[in-house]
Each structure stands twice: as structure tokens, then as C-alpha cells.
């Protein structure tokens, strides 16, 4: 019997080949994602993936799990409803930098603040790929985008620092070059109780690389390899990214805070007494 690619059972093969460009890192992310959740101690039926809009937003559609391709910027509040209605579910949001941090930025900080139990995987390619390469909140200063034809002048977000400041209990950053570390990080993030965040720097050769003379996907991957340093536990204030500069990778934050539901049940029990049945979902 011909052996099978270990990820295909987790893919909607009737939708493959996918729409992503040659040299795009999203497929690599999918590989790492599937390998991570396959080794997690979580029943597959209980895993839900929620995406927003954009190239990364299509991830939900390729994964053979309960999967939701929602509206632009709103996967986190959708995931919040999903998780709170049935806390047994393991809810993972996969979306891009524009979706999660521009239009969806407010939802990100509030979910982190509440410490809602969910994992956010942000594929950061510094651009809106699907719509033609516009500037995003992570595009480095100087970088060219279709809406910053003379170079970006806005300070980008340092996502790791933002996540830490807002309250995330797990924060890590890797590039698509760091596949083994990435698998481990996704696994840790998914198994972590609370709001966990994994940023993945990924090549968009078609709309970011080419416009900024960074070469094709492979050349961008080589750059990730050369310019990245691993500094676990690094101070997130110091891991901001600039154009063509170094990329600090690693697990930056791994801490404990009560989750939204833990706090909720604790408070209700304290206030309402023994008559209160701890909330375990509406079903």
C-alpha cells in the first residue's frame, strides 16, 4: 500500500490544490498546524478553526475540522461565542496580520484582556495579499505597498508586545523557516489554558517580496534563516521588526492567569453560593 502524506487526513483534499501562490508560506503553516494538533491530546472532533478574510482566512476552508470562514476582522468574536457556548471545544483562530490587527485589532486586545481560552495563530506576511498588497499594521517603515507606493511611513505594531501587554498567557514568534519550533509552539499554545498567541512570519513573494525586491518565496525563506535569532524569553519590547532587519524568534511569554470562565465561575460561586452550578456551556 502506498503511504499517505501525514497531513491529508486533516485536509479537505477535494479542495486541493489550494489557491495560494507558489512560494507562499501558508501551506507550510498548514503542515505545521496539522502536525501540532495531531500530537495534541485533544480529540479531533472538539477542535474548531475560525478564520477571517484574506489569504490566511482561507486556512479554515482547507482544514478538515469544524471550520468557519467568517467576516473580515471578526474571527475572534465569533470564536468567543463558539467557545463560551461550548467550553469543551478547543477553538483556534487562524488569520492574517491585516485581518487580526487592523480591522480586528480591537477584538484581539479584548479577548487577550479577558483571557478567553483560545489560540490565535497570526500569519504575518506584512501585507494584504489577497487584495493586491496594501499596507497593513505590521508593514515595516519604508516597505512599499500598493497603498504606500513611496514607502510606508507608519510605525508598525510589535505584535508580541501588544499581545503581552493586553494579557496573553502565551506568546511566541517563529518564521516559516522554523518549522520544528513552530510545531512545538502551536502545540504548546493549543494546550495552554487561556489566550495564547503565535505569530508566524511568512513569505508573500507575489505581493510583498516582489514589490520590495526581496526575491521569491525561497529567497525570503533564506532571509528568514539568515536574519533570525532565537531568544526564548526575550523582552517583547525589544522584538519589534524593521524592514530587512533581524527577526527575533522564540517563546517570549508563558505565564498563568485565570481564564475568562475560571474567573466567571469563581465570582458567581462566591456571590451566588452553593446554588450556583458552575457554567460548563449552554447545552
Amino acid at each position: 500500500m502506498e503511504p499517505k502524506n501525514p497531513v491529508v487526513d486533516y485536509l479537505r483534499m477535494d479542495r486541493i490544490p489550494h489557491i495560494w501562490c507558489p512560494g507562499c508560506g501558508l501551506g507550510t503553516v498548514v503542515n505545521c498546524f496539522v502536525r501540532a494538533i495531531k500530537t495534541c491530546d485533544i480529540p479531533r472532533d472538539l477542535i474548531s478553526v475560525v478564520s477571517g478574510i484574506g489569504c490566511t482566512g482561507r486556512m479554515a476552508g482547507y482544514l478538515k475540522l469544524d471550520s468557519f470562514h467568517t467576516t473580515h476582522g471578526r474571527p475572534i468574536p465569533f470564536a468567543t461565542g463558539l467557545k463560551l457556548a461550548n467550553p469543551k471545544l478547543k477553538v483556534i483562530v487562524c488569520s492574517g496580520d491585516g485581518d487580526l490587527f487592523s480591522i480586528g485589532g480591537n477584538h484581539f486586545i479584548h479577548a487577550a484582556r479577558r483571557n478567553t481560552d483560545m489560540t490565535i495563530i497570526c500569519v504575518n506576511n506584512f501585507t494584504y495579499g489577497m487584495t493586491g498588497g496594501q499596507v497593513t499594521p505590521t508593514t515595516p517603515i519604508e516597505a512599499i505597498a500598493s497603498t504606500t507606493p513611496y514607502g510606508n511611513t507608519e510605525e508598525p505594531f510589535n505584535l508580541s508586545h501588544l499581545a503581552e501587554s493586553a494579557g496573553a498567557v502565551y506568546v511566541a514568534r517563529w518564521t516559516t523557516f522554523h518549522v520544528r519550533q513552530l510545531i512545538k509552539s502551536i502545540k504548546e499554545a493549543v494546550q495552554k489554558s487561556g489566550f495564547s498567541f503565535v505569530e508566524i512570519i511568512s513569505p508573500c513573494p507575489t505581493l510583498y517580496g516582489r514589490r520590495n525586491k526581496l526575491g521569491d518565496g525561497l529567497e525570503m525563506m533564506r532571509a528568514f534563516k539568515e536574519k533570525s535569532t532565537v531568544r526564548n524569553g526575550a523582552d517583547t519590547r525589544e522584538v519589534g521588526l524593521d524592514f530587512k532587519g533581524g527577526i527575533v524568534c522564540g517563546k517570549f511569554i508563558d505565564r498563568e492567569r485565570p481564564t475568562y470562565l475560571e474567573r466567571y465561575n469563581e465570582r458567581m460561586t462566591a456571590r451566588l453560593g452553593a446554588s450556583y452550578k458552575p457554567y460548563e456551556g449552554v447545552l
Partner: protein, 385 residues
């Protein structure tokens, strides 16, 4: 299916419309509410926040209305009955997700306690100027169902009805209160739980691997699943095929739109709720809804005292609009008078259906209070001249 007694506060109460709406949701089996406070709807979520922990429900105050309007859809796909509650400006923010609910066919309830607008307008005073927005506010073609209670009692009754319709047709249902009804306090009688009919969610009997989310088998409304049951189903706001997969072509679009529009249009007669009085002999029919319907009755009695033959039609459901009924009455030569707290919204529907065959008069009002019955009465007289 009967209501779960846990959520039913049986008895006679003195409640405002907002609180009655909360009790209706509880009785209907709603156990997930996401909302963002906004006058004059805030009392609904305040009561829910207080009542939910005891019945195993979850209320979360989200960061804004956009988040609220999609959090409820996440909850529905986890198996809950869910609603969100807002008012004018918040309703504007929710529009995109009304479209998402229409497209995914997520059964859910949007409560809008209407205030004066546009923009911040009159937060504490009534309006009825979101009626067209409720129907057409999101982009694209779709249909919704909208209820217009005219008393706290109906806020209770019609919230249950809204949840039932949402389940039966897998459609977002709008509950269009107005500030006056929302903040008005009256007697509300809540029956025993087993006297309350609840529409259960229709789940598929298909095994994992066999279920196709939008396979209709000739019916208008396909059965549902929920996350966690092993179906590995996919939902997308993109135009999709039976599998729920995105398909970008005109043929798929036609199939999608045809069904989400016509499942409501073709069932309009079963959905439409009207309350009529003294219509048969009438020369004039006053058509109204919400708080305006009560004021209209006062004007009608003034006209009747003068011997004018005037009847009343109340739109308990504003959407779908009761086209067939209005058309028949127009064919009989009856004139129409329509007061509403806006400058002509449902009136456009009335005109569209009447098509100039009989007289139809608008009694516009900018909102902030209700009509002076005298003004409606004068319009009734004008209609019979």
C-alpha cells in the same frame, strides 16, 4: 416542544418592554446573549446579566456591537440559541453580520429598540426609522423576518415567536421595539412553561462524512449541525455550494440567493402576523405597527365617533410585508392611512403594493414622541373625502 420551566417566570408581572423581552428570550430557550450597552436597549441586557447565571446561560458584554453580532453566531454554531440587543447606532454597526447570518443561515435574533436618528439622534426617545434598515441594511440580496411589538406583553410573546421563526426558517429575525414600548411598564402575564410552544433546532440525522450543510433535498431549509459532533463541516460567508465550500460563479450565486430569498417569500403567508379590526366594512384602513398602532386606535375611535367607516390593520410582522392582504384590500377600493415615526418607510411598501389604485396617505413624524392622535384623525378624514 415545550419551554424549559427553568427559564419561565410564570405569573403576572409589572414589567417594561425591555425586561419583558429578556423574559421572552429566557422562555424561548435563549441561553447565550452578547451585547454592548446602548440606550434605550440596555435594560434588556442588564436583566439578562442578572438572570442568566441561575439558568445556566451565558451573557457577555462584548467590546462593541460588531463583536456582539458575530459572537452570537459562534454560539449558535456551538448549538446555542442566541441573541443580541441594541439600538440605532449599534444596529448600524451590526449590519454586516445580519448579512452573515442570512448567508450562513444562522438562526438568531437581533433586538433593536429604536430611538430617534439619524446618528446619535435621540437616545432616550422613540423612533421607528430603522424599519428599512432592518430589511435592507446589509449588502446583497436576502430576506429577514421582523416583529414589531406594541406592548410589554408582546415584547414577551413576540421574542419567543422570533426565536421560533429563526429556527424554523434558519434566518436572522429582527425584533423591532421602539423606545416607548421598550421603556413602558405594564402588566405582563407569563404562562406556565408547558403552555409555551418552542421550535426546536432541526439537526441532521446524517452520519459524519455524509452530511452536506446546504443539501436541501427539495426543502427550503436544510437541517443543521453543531461544532464538536464530528462532522468537520465548513461554513463560509462566501457564496457556497451544498458542501458549504466557496464557489465563485454565477450559477452557485443564483442557487444561494434564490433560496435565502425565496424560503421567506414563498412562506410569507405562513410568517405574516396581522391584527385587524373592523376592516370588512371600512372605507379607510389605518395601517400601523409598534407604539404607533396604539395611538392610531385612539384616532380611529375619534373618526368612528363621527360615523367614518375606518378599520385597523396592525403589522405584528413588518417583514415580510403583507403584500397579498394589502393588495386585496386595495382591490376592494379601500383607502389607506399610515402613520409611522419616520418620514415614510413601511409606507413605501404600502404604496408599492397599492400602486395608486386607491388613496394611500402617509402621516409622517420625525420621532421623539408619538403622534398626536388628532393628526392621524385628520388624515383619516382626508382619506374619505
Amino acid at each position: 416542544m415545550k419551554a424549559d420551566p427553568k427559564g419561565v417566570m410564570t405569573g403576572a408581572h409589572f414589567l417594561d418592554g425591555d425586561h419583558a423581552c429578556c423574559e421572552g428570550a429566557l422562555a424561548a430557550g435563549c441561553r447565550f446573549v452578547a451585547g454592548y450597552p446602548i440606550t434605550p436597549s440596555t435594560e434588556v441586557v442588564e436583566r439578562i446579566a442578572a438572570r442568566f447565571p441561575a439558568v445556566g446561560g451565558m451573557f457577555i458584554q462584548m467590546e462593541d456591537e460588531i463583536a456582539s453580532s458575530i459572537a452570537i453566531q459562534g454560539a449558535v454554531w456551538a448549538g446555542a440559541k442566541a441573541m443580541t440587543v441594541t439600538s440605532g447606532p449599534g444596529f448600524s454597526l451590526m449590519m454586516e453580520h445580519i448579512g452573515l447570518a442570512a448567508m450562513l443561515e444562522t438562526p438568531c435574533v437581533f433586538v433593536n429598540v429604536q430611538r430617534g436618528g439619524p446618528s446619535t439622534g435621540l437616545p432616550t426617545l422613540p423612533g421607528q426609522a430603522d424599519m428599512m434598515q432592518a430589511r435592507w441594511g446589509s449588502h446583497g440580496d436576502y430576506e429577514v423576518i421582523a416583529f414589531c411589538p406594541n406592548s410589554p406583553q408582546e415584547c414577551f410573546d413576540l421574542t419567543i415567536e422570533a426565536f421560533n421563526m429563526a429556527e424554523i426558517y434558519r434566518v436572522p429575525v429582527m425584533l423591532m421595539l421602539d423606545e416607548c414600548v421598550g421603556h413602558m411598564t405594564e402588566k405582563v402575564v407569563i404562562p406556565e412553561a408547558d403552555a409555551i410552544e418552542i421550535a426546536e433546532r432541526r439537526f441532521t440525522g446524517a452520519k459524519p462524512g455524509e452530511y452536506l450543510p446546504y443539501e436541501t433535498n427539495g426543502n427550503w431549509v436544510p437541517p443543521m449541525v453543531k461544532a464538536g459532533d464530528g462532522h468537520y463541516f465548513h461554513m463560509t460567508g462566501l457564496t457556497h455550494d451544498e458542501r458549504g465550500y466557496p464557489v465563485m460563479n454565477a450559477e452557485a450565486q443564483e442557487k444561494c440567493v434564490h433560496r435565502i430569498v425565496n424560503k421567506i417569500r414563498e412562506n410569507a403567508d405562513a410568517i405574516v402576523r396581522l391584527r385587524e379590526a373592523e376592516i370588512e366594512d371600512a372605507d379607510v384602513v389605518v395601517v400601523s405597527y409598534g407604539i404607533t398602532s396604539r395611538v392610531a386606535l385612539k384616532a380611529i375611535s375619534m373618526a368612528q365617533a363621527e360615523g367614518i367607516k375606518v378599520g385597523h390593520m396592525r403589522l405584528v410582522t413588518a417583514w415580510p410585508f403583507p403584500e397579498n392582504r394589502i393588495r386585496r384590500l386595495a382591490d376592494q377600493g379601500k383607502a389607506f392611512v399610515m402613520p409611522e415615526l419616520n418620514y415614510g418607510q413601511m409606507y413605501l411598501e404600502l404604496e408599492r403594493v397599492v400602486q395608486g389604485r386607491t388613496r394611500s396617505l402617509l402621516v409622517p413624524h420625525g420621532g421623539g414622541t408619538v403622534h398626536d392622535p388628532e393628526v392621524i384623525y385628520r388624515k383619516i378624514k382626508e382619506a374619505v373625502q
